[in-house]
């Protein structure tokens, strides 16, 4: 109700603004433009604030880098906290009666699923998944499922795939339940919704790497920590979409249900939830995708399964093996994505008419069960429960040969364009180093002011405040210099990502064929665990910041391309048509109609690019990108809570700041919807 009530009131508010700009056009004086322009007014306020505060700051702390007087050394309390946890983990009630039980429940659940999967055997699991996919998503998805599971087996990854599947099943269920409950609260109560939003925002901006350490400390290495870290990452989209679905329910229908005298609970169960089921399913879909993308990161803390195979392959520099373990992750993602997505599409449709009765409703489900049991038994009689050892196709050797060939021919001395090693050192010398020096050389108050300005120009004063506070927190934590180093890496990589992404996105928006060609490539880039390409990028670009940037660009590019293409495609065809009829050239259409109209989408692309690049630049700590990423890896590896947590917190602050500074205004619009 409140959403509909606020909507009319915003309309009159935009009226005067529109007439105001019209008046300016007739009397174009600079002064009045400044007074009337929203942005200029904000800038004026900032200039005044700066004029007062900067001299003060400069007088007190003359040096440009963050003043020591304003830092808080948290390493000692954190070190003590870490010792306390380790010493009391076996005796304190909070572990005995709370964390310990959570941990046990997770282990028991994962184990239960794993035992079921192993009992079904490869034949049973494949049959069951194929049949379920066929029931809820149709024949095409069923075939995809069958082929995918077969490939997992053929790659010799059956057991790790089942371990990952068990972990995912529990993590996704927990994410859906927790996210669903949060979303329910947010969807039913305006106050809860408002309280929840910043929490969900933050959870999504956090790079997963940053919170592995605290999770490890409390739960220890292994499955419970991995599941928990995954839930933190995967629950927010579920919560968001549930809230969105509940809030978007048709007011008319609800009114009708209420007038029939339904109780609150009846209204919820019989009207609001069913009306929101499309969003709910999309939420489940998103939770699954996010959870799978955590599978490998979770392996750093001993999650086991496919992620662990990728991680182990990396330590023997075996790209082929890493790929063999990475592919099943991609395939699982594809199967689950397609199944839940088509299930969502089918929800609205009326049930298929015709066909024998046996293929519909519960008899069909019973059939699925019977066939699965039968196939399982046949599989058992045929022999091994796990995939037969002889039926594997080794891809490691050819992949590694291909990698070696690539490195031999691209690393250096390629005529005209130079080798990848030369690019890397040029990138470091001409882009990264000047940028880092510039950022570290800038006085801290200048950085804060720039952040405040950018965030305020693109958002509200609250956005600006959050961004500036996040930045200041980095200084207070005493990691200003490494944070500026990380920031420079992020900015440089984002720049390259956007240039490439916009160019490819524009091209794909114009040619359907190109878009179709790109689709599978983008799918693979997005779902392939980032760890898989960490080693090839080192082979190509050497150790340092350049390979981290390369990995980040590969990872963030698909999202930017997709959003750009979508945005350009969705531009009102009428506007394009009228531009064309006025004789605009292709270039003019693009520059003057399509790009301006697609502005919200492009801003969203920038925002997504920034967040994704940050996530990978941090993992770049594993290939020598240094700065905050290295500190987090160091903290994890040495169990050094102080270094790791402070760096993690700084990453979170950087993420928040970058998100706010690039926050497209569309998020404010979404609030009303």
């Amino acid at each position: 109700m409140s959403a509909t009530a606020t909507r009319p009131s915003t309309d009159p508010a935009t009226e005067p603004a529109a007439t105001g700009t019209a008046a300016d056009e007739t009397r174009p004086s600079l002064l009045s433009a400044v007074v009337h322009s929203h942005a200029a007014r904000k800038l004026a306020v900032l200039v005044v604030i700066a004029a007062v505060l900067v001299p003060l700051a400069h007088a007190k702390w003359a040096s440009g880098s963050w003043p020591d007087a304003l830092t808080v050394d948290v390493s000692e309390p954190l070190g003590k906290a870490s010792d306390w946890i380790i010493d009391n983990r076996d005796s304190h009630w909070i572990f005995l009666y709370f964390f310990g039980h959570i941990s046990n429940v997770v282990i028991i659940c994962v184990r239960a699923v794993y035992v079921v999967l192993l009992t079904l055997g490869w034949a049973g699991v494949t049959a069951a998944s194929t049949l379920v996919a066929w029931r809820v998503a149709g024949v095409r998805v069923a075939v995809t499922t069958l082929v995918s599971f077969a490939v997992c087996g053929l790659l010799g990854m059956w057991v790790p795939t089942m371990q990952t599947l068990a972990l995912m099943a529990v993590a996704v269920t927990a994410s859906v339940v927790i996210g669903g409950l949060l979303g329910l609260a947010g969807g039913l109560s305006e106050r809860a919704f408002r309280a929840l939003r910043p929490i969900l925002d933050t959870m999504q901006v956090l790079p997963a790497f940053a919170y592995l350490l605290p999770v490890v400390l409390i739960f220890g290495i292994g499955v419970p920590g991995a599941v928990l870290a995954t839930v933190i990452y995967a629950a927010p989209p579920m919560a968001r979409l549930t809230a969105l679905g509940l809030r978007g329910a048709d007011a008319g229908v609800l009114e009708a249900v209420a007038s029939l005298g339904a109780t609150w609970r009846q209204r919820l169960l019989s009207a609001r939830l069913p009306l929101a089921r499309k969003e709910l399913l999309l939420g489940v879909n998103q939770a699954i995708m996010m959870a799978l993308s955590m599978a490998v990161i979770a392996s750093v803390i001993g999650g086991g399964g496919l992620g662990d195979r990728v991680y182990q392959a990396l330590s023997s520099v075996d790209v082929g093996k890493a790929l063999a373990a990475g592919l099943p992750i991609v395939l699982l993602a594809v199967v689950m994505d397609r199944t839940t997505a088509s299930a969502g599409e089918r929800l609205g449709e009326p049930p298929a008419e015709g066909g024998p009765r046996l293929l519909r409703g519960w008899p069909a489900w019973a059939g699925v069960g019977v066939i699965t049991v039968a196939v399982t038994l046949v599989g058992r009689l045929a022999g091994s429960q796990t995939w037969p050892t002889g039926w594997t196709v080794p891809i490691e050797e050819p992949v590694n040969q291909f990698k070696d060939w690539m490195v031999d021919h691209l690393y250096t001395g390629v005529p005209v364009v130079g080798g990848t090693a030369d690019w890397a050192s040029d990138y470091v010398k001409w882009i990264l180093d000047p940028l880092r020096e510039g950022l570290q050389g800038l006085p801290w108050y200048a950085v804060l002011l720039i952040v405040a300005t950018l965030a305020w120009l693109i958002g509200t004063w609250a956005t600006a405040l959050t961004a500036t506070a996040a930045m200041a927190a980095i200084g207070v934590l005493g990691v200003w210099a490494p944070s500026m180093d990380t920031l420079s890496q992020v900015l440089a990589a984002v720049f390259v990502t956007l240039v490439l992404g916009f160019a490819i996105g524009i091209a794909a928006a114009r040619s359907t064929r190109l878009e179709r060609l790109l689709r599978p490539v983008l799918d693979v880039c997005q779902t392939m665990p980032q760890f898989v390409y960490l080693i090839p990028v080192v082979a190509l670009f050497g150790v340092g910041r350049a390979p981290a940037a390369a990995a980040a660009i590969v990872y963030a590019l698909p999202a930017v391309i997709r959003i750009t293409t979508q945005g350009l495609r969705n531009v009102d065809p009428a506007a394009l048509e009228s531009a064309r009829s006025l004789g605009a050239t292709q270039g003019q259409q693009l520059r003057q109609v399509q790009l301006p109209l697609a502005r919200p989408a492009l801003l969203l692309a920038v925002n997504q690019g920034v967040v994704l690049v940050l996530a990978v630049v941090i993992i770049g700590g594993l290939v020598g990108s240094g700065a905050l990423g290295y500190d987090v890896v160091f903290g994890l590896a040495q169990g050094d809570l102080a270094t790791g947590l402070v760096a993690g917190a700084a990453i979170v602050c950087l993420g928040l700041m970058l998100d706010r500074v690039t926050q497209p205004t569309s998020r404010r619009d979404r609030k009303g919807a």
């Binding site: 005995l96 499955v223 001993g302 086991g304 182990q312 690393y411 250096t412 010398k429 150790v543």
Partner: protein, 325 residues
């Protein structure tokens, strides 16, 4: 409606069952084995693998023998060293086969909490140091003394080292005093952390292919020496006094790294109740040559650890027969 209620009831019953199964009382954080262990009545052992290939070789051979000679199922988990100690104390893994010396952890878990027990020596001696490739040392023999390193700083410069010479360090999980050494020996070098051993090896191979000079933190035993022959740079002599002072104040290190006989550690419960597997792991004892043989097969010939272990096991029955309980 009725159906929803039954479902709710079933869910509640499920949760209740789970809690009953875990015991309503205190949950013991020291007894939490991996959910993948002992499934289907199989006896299983969980081993931690550290990120270097030597550790993989120990685990591969132990795993092969446990599976084929003693009938166990073996799960492996890759964990860094310090978290591995933690995992060992919580029963998440049963054994660490190659430890390079962690006095803090030993004090905490072996002496104070008694959740971990020593499993004896591995038989391999480890040594950390600074190394340059042989092709470079042959042409410039004086680089092998740390006193001359500053004259070579320019030669070892890279894009990442910012005008100084580059000292390539490896994974953040490794024991290193390099920061203090560079400072205290007044070396004009910048430490570049590769961030992982994989990244460091890839980079060193890349350098070797181009016959470029490099200076790296590295260690023995290591299979890479067979592919990229390297010579150690002499640092100020290791003394116990320097080590003691360094242990108190890590910034004061100014001498070479010690030579460490590598150790095995077992979870205390597993050591008592692990039966044949525990007895076998305690007896596991081989040489640097044996380990390198397996490592080389895994890391440079691209064999799977299992195949490499099989090959070694078939060739050396005299060595491993003694380990069987």
């Amino acid at each position: 409606m009725a159906r929803t209620r039954t479902r709710l009831l079933m869910a509640a019953a499920g949760i209740a069952a789970v809690f009953t199964a875990t015991g309503c009382g205190a949950a013991d954080m020291t007894k939490q084995s991996s959910p993948y262990a002992n499934v289907g009545g199989a006896k299983s052992v969980t081993l931690s693998v550290q990120s270097w290939v030597g550790a993989q070789s120990n685990v591969a051979v132990a795993q092969y023998l446990l599976e084929h000679e003693l009938g166990y199922r073996v799960d492996t988990v890759q964990v860094d060293e310090v978290p591995a100690w933690d995992a060992l104390s919580q029963d998440r893994v049963d054994a660490i086969l190659e430890d390079w010396g962690h006095p803090d952890q030993e004090q905490r878990y072996v002496k104070d909490k008694k959740t971990i027990v020593p499993g004896g020596g591995l038989g391999v001696t480890g040594h950390i140091g600074w190394w340059v490739p042989k092709y470079f040392a042959d042409a410039h023999p004086d680089v092998l003394d740390w006193k001359n390193l500053n004259t070579y700083a320019k030669t070892f410069k890279t894009a990442e080292s910012g005008g100084k010479g580059q000292l390539l360090d490896g994974s953040p999980s490794y024991v290193t005093n390099d920061k203090a050494l560079v400072k205290n020996l007044k070396l004009n070098y910048q430490i570049v952390f590769a961030g992982s051993e994989a990244a460091q090896i890839t980079q060193m191979k890349q350098f070797a292919k181009a016959k470029k000079p490099f200076l790296a933190y590295w260690y023995e035993p290591q299979w890479l020496f067979n592919q990229v022959p390297m010579v150690e740079v002499k640092l100020p002599k290791y003394t116990d006094k320097c080590a003691d002072e360094g242990a108190k104040d890590p910034d004061s290190f100014d001498c070479a790294y010690p030579t460490t006989p590598l150790q095995k550690y077992l979870n205390a419960d597993f050591a008592k109740k692990g039966g044949k597997a525990a007895a076998f792991l305690k007896k596991f004892h081989w040489t640097k040559k044996d380990q390198n043989e397996v490592s080389e097969l895994i890391a440079s010939q691209g064999m799977s650890p299992e195949d490499a272990a099989k090959k070694w096991v078939e060739a050396h029955p005299d060595v491993w027969k003694k380990w069987l309980p």
